[in-house]
């Protein structure tokens, strides 16, 4: 991978971290409400996978999707505005933190009900396969989500009809407060794919380069008609003081201090790698940090200054699809 790609990836990891820090701050200040599921520590997963994706691919995500949306290309300000419930948000303030959607970037949504991402991905992939297009559907989910029945149903159908889906398990070892060995009979998640004959691999989710390489290989297979592929990405919540504080805010999760043993943070790891390989130096990285901070600060300002939607907008969105239909009165 060349220098340019590496620095784009590092930049996205920094953007992601800065975005979530700003989000946590907004939440602490009461400007963002609702459930807030943050991503710090897992940036290597979103960045590694989504940098391997093509614009023609589709992405399906969960309630922990801010960073997937951001890396997929949705402008930070439109995500941030959505988190603030503003009219300028990507979902016009109707969806919120757990429901980011972007049709133009083929971002098929964040879903708040654990287990919904599979059937959505299945349907999208079905449409792609039916049209014989060389596109892939990327389906994200957590380690806790693999125990929902839809996982099983959807993987069976995906394999049966050889649908173009890359299943990506972000294994952070916890389902809220329940550790993986207490929620799954088999803790090596990729082995779950054996019941469907889906090729599966476990990859270090803290190493963005490994993630990227694995995703690229898997996506090529998917696009060339080999059927679904499965990646388990072993990841941890951030061993990083700011990220730690962020996760404290999210109730129920294990004390991030306890996670420290898991090893260094994915951003430090990749920064060190870039420096070691002489692709970048500390000054470059510091400049990047400042640039992304400027971008995120602007996004927050945009969000804060944007107007709120009104009820008329809400009704018109609900009825948007009825535009050309006569529901009751006969046309004269």
């Amino acid at each position: 991978m060349d220098k340019w790609h590496m620095s784009r990836m590092l930049r996205d990891m920094l953007r992601a971290r800065a975005f979530e820090e700003a989000t946590a701050q907004g939440y602490a200040q009461g400007k963002i409400a609702g459930f807030l599921h943050l991503y710090p520590g897992e940036e290597a997963v979103a960045v590694g996978v989504l940098h391997a994706a093509e614009p023609g691919d589709y992405v399906v995500s969960t309630y922990r999707e801010h960073v997937h949306a951001l890396v997929r290309g949705i402008p930070a300000q439109e995500i941030m505005a959505e988190l603030h419930g503003k009219k300028t948000g990507i979902s016009k303030g109707m969806g919120g933190s757990m429901h980011l959607f972007d049709a133009s970037r083929r971002f098929l949504g964040g879903y708040a009900i654990v287990g919904e991402t599979y059937p959505i991905a299945l349907g999208a992939a079905y449409a792609v396969a039916y049209r014989r297009l060389p596109e892939a559907v990327i389906c994200f989910f957590g380690d806790g989500a693999v125990n929902q029945g839809t996982f099983h149903e959807s993987l069976n159908m995906a394999a049966l009809w050889k649908l173009p889906i890359l299943f990506v398990c972000e294994n952070n070892h916890y389902q809220i407060g329940t550790e993986i060995h207490r929620h799954s009979a088999i803790t090596e998640v990729y082995k779950r794919a054996c019941g469907y004959g889906i090729p599966a691999e476990k990859v270090d989710g803290m190493d963005v380069l490994s993630v990227h390489a694995a995703a690229q290989k898997a996506l090529e297979r998917v696009r060339s008609g080999d059927g679904p592929q499965f990646l388990e990405l072993d990841a941890y919540r951030a061993n990083d003081p700011i990220a730690a504080a962020i996760h404290e805010a999210e109730s129920g999760y294990p004390n991030p201090a306890a996670m420290a043993a898991a090893g260094p943070d994915c951003i430090s790891l990749f920064s060190a790698h870039c420096c070691r390989e002489k692709h970048l130096d500390e000054t470059d990285i510091e400049r990047m940090r400042q640039e992304v901070q400027t971008e995120i600060d602007a996004a927050v300002r945009f969000a804060e200054e944007s107007a709120e939607p009104d009820m008329e907008t809400a009704w018109s969105i609900l009825h948007a699809n009825r535009r050309y239909e006569t529901l009751m009165e006969s046309p004269e």
């Binding site: 429901h99 992939a125 792609v128 149903e153 959807s154 809400a314 948007a320 529901l327």
Partner: protein, 331 residues
């Protein structure tokens, strides 16, 4: 052009006509393909349109209904068949939390041209688990629409309209209607999809029914007419939205309203009808609105008890007689 055919045949023709015209229409469900559908609705379609457009699925209701949702987001117009409404209990998350909410939650970015077809209601001795009626549940979901054709003509017209709609629509059939016959004119301009229809007009009272119960109401009306009671019969045709104007107008004229539903009475579909109509017609009503509905009991397997657990024609007749009799009026 007009021909007497079965209800299932009308559905089959609607599917065929639409699929021939638009290759973004696909259908899927258990045994819809090779076997042609449990109630023959998809007969012949797989041979004609291939397995990608007519897809037999595993027994995975939640995920194959969700598949329909995902495919609709990419612009396909899936018609999902759930073999019977009883199995829709597994798919209720896909229906309520996905299909109905995605268009709204996405700020209008994703229309949902999804039709979910399924038969509901009590058939013949299928036992409590196979006698579900679920209309009240689906009515309460904003973002969802639901139609309930009672005749082959409506089955034909409303299915075509549902497939054309960009909103998710529940297309509720009835196991006992598939083999009912009626004239279908394929060239007729269909009335708007959610419009109610006066199947019969009478000055004395208004009977509001839907699906299979419309046939019973019409039978009752015949009998009542011979006794001198003239009953208007409204076929709702749609449970969500409900065509209130048609109902209100009629009740304001007849001053008496009887609602007939197969759903269990307690919190059934009829409750909404009674609640809204008492509000809108209060000063026109001579008597309280009455409901003839299913008993609040799991459907017994025994045939006689089963029959007694849902409205029979005689129950409608008796309720109608009581409603228009002068007895029982107080104050």
């Amino acid at each position: 052009m007009s021909e007497e055919i079965y209800y299932w045949q009308a559905l089959n023709r609607a599917m065929d006509t639409e699929m021939a015209a638009d290759d973004s229409i696909i259908t899927l469900g258990e045994d819809v393909g090779l076997y042609g559908g449990t109630y023959r609705v998809t007969e012949g379609l797989m041979a004609k349109y291939g397995e990608w457009r007519v897809r037999d699925t595993p027994i995975s209701e939640n995920s194959f209904t969700g598949l329909g949702v995902g495919a609709a987001m990419l612009g396909l117009r899936p018609v999902v068949e759930i073999m019977t409404i009883n199995f829709a209990l597994f798919a209720i998350d896909a229906i309520i939390n996905m299909a109905a909410k995605i268009p709204f939650m996405s700020g209008g970015q994703f229309p949902m041209p999804l039709t979910i077809r399924m038969p509901g209601g009590v058939a013949r001795q299928l036992g409590a688990q196979h006698s579900q009626r679920l209309e009240h549940t689906l009515m309460n979901v904003p973002g969802l629409r639901m139609v309930v054709p009672a005749t082959p003509q409506d089955a034909y017209g409303q299915l075509r309209q549902a497939i054309h709609s960009d909103d998710p629509i529940i297309f509720l059939e009835h196991e006992l209607l598939y083999f009912s016959k009626g004239v279908v004119d394929e060239t007729a301009v269909a009335p708007p999809i959610h419009q109610a229809m006066l199947r019969r007009t009478g000055r004395d009272m208004t009977c509001i029914a839907y699906s299979q119960m419309v046939l019973l109401a019409l039978e009752a009306a015949e009998q009542l007419a011979s006794e001198g009671i003239e009953m208007t019969v409204i076929d709702l045709r749609s449970l969500s939205p409900i065509d209130w104007e048609t109902c209100v107008q009629s009740v304001q004229q007849t001053h008496h309203c009887l609602i007939v539903e197969e759903d269990c009475r307690f919190a059934g579909a009829g409750a909404e009808l009674a609640a809204t109509l008492q509000e809108r017609c209060f000063y026109f009503l001579d008597k309280p609105i009455q409901r003839v509905a299913g008993l609040d009991i799991p459907t017994p397997f025994n045939g006689k008890l089963e029959a007694a657990s849902i409205p029979r024609t005689k129950d409608i007749i008796e309720a109608a007689r009581r409603l228009v009799s002068s007895a029982g009026v107080q104050s």
